[in-house]
Each structure stands twice: as C-alpha cells, then as structure tokens.
Symmetry: C2
Subunit: 428 residues, 2 copies
C-alpha cells in the first residue's frame, strides 16, 4: 500500500466513523426535537419558512422555486456498497436537520470537539431550503465495473445522454455519480448545506463540479426573467397539478425502485450576453418566438396564450418562425413531450473569449448564463426528445453553448427512519 | 492601419456616437421624469426601495449594506481625455436612471431599433441599487504615459499598494483603471447594472475583472456572518456617525478634487474552507480573537464589548493571542487607524487545489471566500497600515489567500447635470 492509498483509506475510515456517529445521533435524537435549532430561528419552529424533507417525493421538484440554487455533483470513491449506504444515511440525517433550520449535526458545548457545522447560517432564516439528491450512471457502473452490485438495477430511463449537436461539454463541469440540488431563498443557506454535506462525504465521495445560481422573483410573482431578458418557464408543467405531474414528471409503476422519483437533466448553458445584447428587439423576439416584455407568443396577447403555430403573416410566412425556440420545444412538435424546467441564472465573473463572428471580439466577457435544470419521468421521451431537434435547428444556438451537465435518477422521497435511495439498496 | 486597429477605432466611434446620444437624452429628459420607469416598479416611484444617485458623497459607501454586490474593474482604451469624459457622462446618466429603477436608456417603441437595455430587471424592484465608481492609478499614468493629462492631479493617497507578505495576486483579478461597485438587494439587479454600463463603455473601456458576492442579513439585523462562520464587520466605523466618517472615511480639505470622496481597497480573498472546517472551535476562536457564536471578544460577553488586549489568563498568557486577527487589526495597535469594511462572501464554484499541509489533499475544492472591500480617507494610513502587520503575523493567514484586488480613488458624488469625477476634469 503506498502512502496515497493509506491516506485515502484513513479518509474512508474517518468517514465511516463519522457516519456511524451521525447514525447513532439520528437514532437517539429525533429530528422533531428542536432544542438545538438555530437560536433565533423562530419562523422555522413554526414551519413557515421550512419545507418538509421526508415524503412520497423528494422536495425541490414540485416546490415553488426558491431564489437561489447551489448545485453540486460528486464522484463516489467508496469501495463498498455499505459505504455508499452509510453516506446516504448520513446525508439523509443531516438533510433532515438542515432543511428544518438546524445545524448539520448536534451542537456540542465542548469547545475542544471539532466543529460539526461551520455556523454561517446561525441567525438566518431557514429560507425554504430543499435538498434534492440524484444518482448518476456511475452509481451503477463506472469504467465498466459494477462497484456496488447495482448494475442490474440501473433504470433504462437513466440512459447516458447522447452527444448533441453543438455540445461543448468540459469534463470539469460534466457528469457525477451523485448530485445535490440545494435550493433556498438565500445563497448562504444553500451553499452552507452543500458545504456540510460535502464534508460529511469525505472518504466516500469527492465533490466534482458545482454551480450556484439565482432567480429574481418578479414583484407580481409572475414568471421570472433570465439573463436574456425574456420570461423563462412559460407553459411549464404546473407543479400543483397532480395529474400532469404524474403523467410527465414522476416515475410511475414502470419505475420499480424509482416509483415516485424523477429524472433530472442539468446543463450549465453559457449565454453570449455581449452578442445577444447587440441584437435588435425584433430579432430577439423572432429567435424566442415570444414578445420580450409581455412574454406572449408572437401573434398573441398574453404570456399564457397558446402558441399559434399555424398562423401566418400577410406574406404567408409563419408568425412564429420555423426555427424559433418555442416552436421547436412545443409539445405539438415533440410527440407531446413535456418537462418541468427549474432553471437558474448563473454568473461566474468573466473569462477570456474569442468570438467567432463579427465583431470578432477577443477579450474578457461575462461567463454567465443559465443553469438549466429539468425534471421528467423519462429523459429519453423528455429532454432528449425535445433537445435533439433544438440542438440542430434552434436560432438561439447562435447565442448559447452547453458547457457541461449530467443526467441523474432522483429517487423517491425518503421515509422517516429510512434514507435516500433505500428502495434501490433494499433490492437483492 | 491594420484590421485590428480599424476594428478598435470603429468600436471607439460607435462608443462616441452612443455617448453623444446619451448626453442629449440626459439633457432633454430629466431623470425625475418617470414615464419610462419599469412598468410595475411602484415602490421605486415612492422612493422606498431606491437610493439617491446624486449627492455630496457617492452612494454605496455610507449606505446600509445591501445583500449583493457585483464588482467590476475596467481598462481604459479611450485615446483622448474627451473620450474619458464622454464615458463618465454616459455612465452618470445611465446610473442616475438605473438607481431609480429605470432602464439604462430611454425605451423606444420601435422594434427595429437596437436594444438600449437587456430588460432582465423588468418587473423587479429597484432593490436599493447603488453604483459607486472609482479611478485606479491607470487613469493618471499607464505604462509611464500620461494618457489624459491627469498625471499631475493623481492624489498622493492613491499610492500603488505594496506587495504584502503572502500576496498571490493573479493579473486577471487585479488592477483596473476604473471600477464599479454595484450593490443591490438582488443579484440580478446588480449584475444588470454592470452589464448595461459595460456595454455603454464599448470602445472606451474594456471590462477586466469582475466578482459577485452576497451577504446574508441576520434576522435580527445584527452583524452578518461570513463563510468562516464568524460575524464580519464588528467594530466597524459607524456609517451614521458624521464625525467618525469625516475623520476616517471621507477625504477632507487635503483631498483637493477628491474632497468628499474616499479611497477603496478591494481584494478577493480565497478562504480554504475545507481546511478551516477541520479546525476545532476553540482554535478558530483563538485565530479570530472572538467567540464564534456571540461575536464577543475573547474574555468578554458581548460583540460590542471593547477588546481587553491587556487581559491575561491564569497562566499569564494573553486571553486574546498575540497573533489573533482582531488584535493585529485593532486601532490601538495601528496608530488609531480605522477603515470602513463593506465586504461580501463570494462563491465561484470549485477549482483544483493542492493543499500544502495535512492531509495534503489534492483535488477540487470550493473556490470561495471574501470579496473584501474597504473605504478610507487615505489607504496609506488605512488598509496599508493595518494589513502590513496582519499579512506577516495574522494566524488567519493559514486559511486565507489574497488572490487579486486594486486600489481606487472614489470621487465625491456627482451633481445633477454634472458627471462622476467632474472636479478632476475641471482642473487644467
């Protein structure tokens, strides 16, 4: 055993010891006991700004979108199936606490004990924190190896994404055996949660890529605008409509252990803001197929009016262009496919860019765009179906580039006393 | 003239034409006219969520800190003094509009006209947007050249920062001839403002580096916590205390054209969160010299209790260690120096790190920390005085690295009808 292996093993042992502690703590101190809740978190005690963690479905999907996300993907380095289970148990226990405004672990009054929380949320509201977990293909098979004896249970719906036209995926922002979508109405609350969960995973999983994002709530609660200035999320699957959610988003009987779960496709999409900002309003609207200010489909009056896909102008040309974004994404053109979009704008400062078109600008440009997050019952008939055509024909492709992402099976919600993904691990 | 020069020149001509348009618009359409204000921005019309732009001092210094910042530094590429003036006039006109909840420029109803705003703040509140401008050393002399005839007016206080012990400044996050600190209670509002101002500057200034940040307001309005989990900003210069602000922050008679202005030192400081999180609470408190939860100085009870620098424990050792952060920064140890700190936490996802100490971890770690922003009457007797000692002895240096930054002269506030920095350009 070389030194590096030794360190890794010690890391794993530390993790297992710590996971055991968490498990004991979880067993002896029910989450409902709020003696150790954040001192001033009165509203979380009344539940007014906290979302339940346990339930039929995971929270963070049919949850009214919060203003902030911190998304993180992880590589599993655990060697054994039991280590993965220990991680998921520890994550579940910590998540149950964090989402109720508590610290990741029980506080200690002994100043000599290593910290069990980093405490930057002390004194903050819970801010509707949700933690949504997903399993990537690497949970089932990695480099051809069935590391945890789970390969036979890999859902068909968790198919590797094809390479789409125009994909520019960088490995440092792509993939992951596990993911966490942390959403809250406060960036510090979302980041805090992922930071604690990352620490809890030491020795079992390494954080691989991460992206934070924001969504500015409209004052009138209408559909928010993304950095292109357009409303983003019009004609979304309505999260309160159980029938539609069951039809399009939640896995049904066909899902086996995934029943009541859902599949996430996440993609950071860089937007060439400087290029977009040089376009005329009329052209931007043709690209989108919608009015910028009202959000109405071209030729219509209101955001929620249906797309008049067959309407032509006086010259006989379609009012919504053939290659407009909304036309290509419309259910009518995708065998009825619908996905739940839950995207956030992101801003990573600047990076050096050499533009490929006039004015051939080279220099620092905004490294910003959209962290596209979608949920669906089956990506093959959801995102893949819709985006295959879009990736080839969407006029918007002149302005956007998919730079990373992943596909994840998000298991059903955990039961109290159980853990995220337990139905999978309960299988032989 | 080669093609690249030609493009640059055309860029500059475009800028001058657009700046002229803005100037005319500003002259004929007083900012108070709100006919084109954001449609639903009722609260900005009553002024309840907007900060005045014009005044004796620039806003964003003595303003109650907003929850978000977007900081950007620019390189001037303008060839002539008049081009710099045109830029500052255009920025002033746009800032006066943006801070009152209006679009960067007047809206047009002609869909064929290129967009004058990107509109992603349509329907949002003004969120107390402030825009604070600073002039870096390069405004006065760049590569030994007095580009704009301003070299003789460079304030002594705008001295280049020395190289401090431990500095790891990367050029892509350092310097700038101009800077903008955009603060608002909404990240989209702050970013939107810088995006419009960056576009207005095309041909006159290129954006060089940028960093966004957040500050989570405590529910009880007490001092917020940064990512180390400690309160950040205790014992700050009180922004409502005119005498203290005049003594420590605002340039006085000695300032000449800078009178009523202030000097900003900004530094993105990476925090090794994974390393910090492995430290015991007791050690973290020794490093800081304060209690983590209450914020009280060690040996005291309350956050605002004075530092008992002479108090010893039973063994005769100082209760606040000799190399604790608060001791080294205390006015008592820096000839009475005080600066106004207005810092934000930042999160840039992950980057690859090779740690220099146990457990010698190499891999992806959080690229996060503090965008330290400070204001002072003279950096030589402010930040430089305080940080020189800190950079050598502060125990916190094990966990933090200064990775960029700059020093900027922030002129007094603009007068209505005038522009930011006008007192400098009015000099011969």
């Amino acid at each position: 055993m070389n030194e590096s292996d030794d360190l890794r093993l010690r890391g794993r042992r530390r993790f297992l010891a710590s996971a055991a502690t968490v498990a004991v703590v979880a067993a002896t101190a029910p989450v409902a006991a709020t003696a150790h809740a954040r001192a001033s978190s009165a509203s979380s005690e009344t539940g007014s700004d906290s979302e339940p963690f346990f339930g039929t479905h995971q929270a963070g999907v049919a949850t009214t979108p919060q203003t902030n996300v911190y998304f993180a993907a992880f590589d599993l380095i655990a060697e054994k199936r039991d280590d993965v289970i220990a991680l998921l148990r520890a994550w579940t226990a910590a998540s149950a606490r964090l989402t109720q405004g508590q610290t990741a672990d029980l506080l200690t009054n002994d100043p000599a004990t290593p910290e069990l929380d980093s405490y930057e949320t002390t004194g903050l509201a819970t801010d509707r924190l949700t933690l949504t977990f997903g399993f990537g293909p690497g949970m089932f098979t990695k480099d051809g190896k069935d590391r945890y004896g789970l390969a036979k249970h890999r859902p068909d719906a968790l198919a590797d994404l094809p390479r789409f036209n125009g994909d520019q995926l960088v490995p440092e922002r792509t993939g992951g055996d596990l993911c966490i979508q942390a959403c809250a109405d406060n960036p510090q609350v979302a980041f805090h949660a992922v930071r604690q969960l990352t620490r809890i995973a030491y020795g079992a999983a390494n954080i691989r890529w991460a992206q934070s994002g924001f969504m500015a709530a409209q004052k009138d609660k209408s559909t928010p605008r993304n950095l292109m200035g357009f409303k983003d999320g019009s004609m979304n699957v309505p999260i309160r409509a159980e029938a539609a959610m069951n039809q399009y988003i939640w896995a049904g009987d066909e899902g086996g252990w995934m029943q009541h779960g859902t599949y996430m496709v996440a993609r950071p999409i860089r937007i060439a803001l400087e290029h977009w900002d040089r376009m005329k309003l009329s052209f931007q609207q043709q690209v989108m197929g919608r009015e910028k200010h009202s959000g109405a489909p071209l030729g219509q009056k209101h955001e929620n009016d249906s797309l008049a896909l067959d309407a032509n102008d006086a010259n006989g040309n379609p009012i919504i262009p053939e290659n407009a974004h909304v036309r290509l994404g419309a259910p009518e053109n995708n065998d009825g496919a619908q996905i739940l979009r839950r995207s956030y704008s992101y801003d990573n400062g600047l990076s050096y860019i050499a533009e490929r078109w006039p004015p051939w600008h080279q220099g620092m440009e905004f490294d910003a765009g959209l962290l596209f997050i979608s949920y669906q019952r089956d990506p093959r008939t959801g995102f893949v179906k819709i985006f295959d055509k879009m990736s080839k024909f969407d006029m918007m492709n002149q302005f956007v580039t998919h730079v990373g992402g992943g596909v994840f099976a998000c298991p059903p919600g955990a039961k109290e006393g159980g853990f995220i993904g337990q139905p999978l691990f309960d299988l032989a």
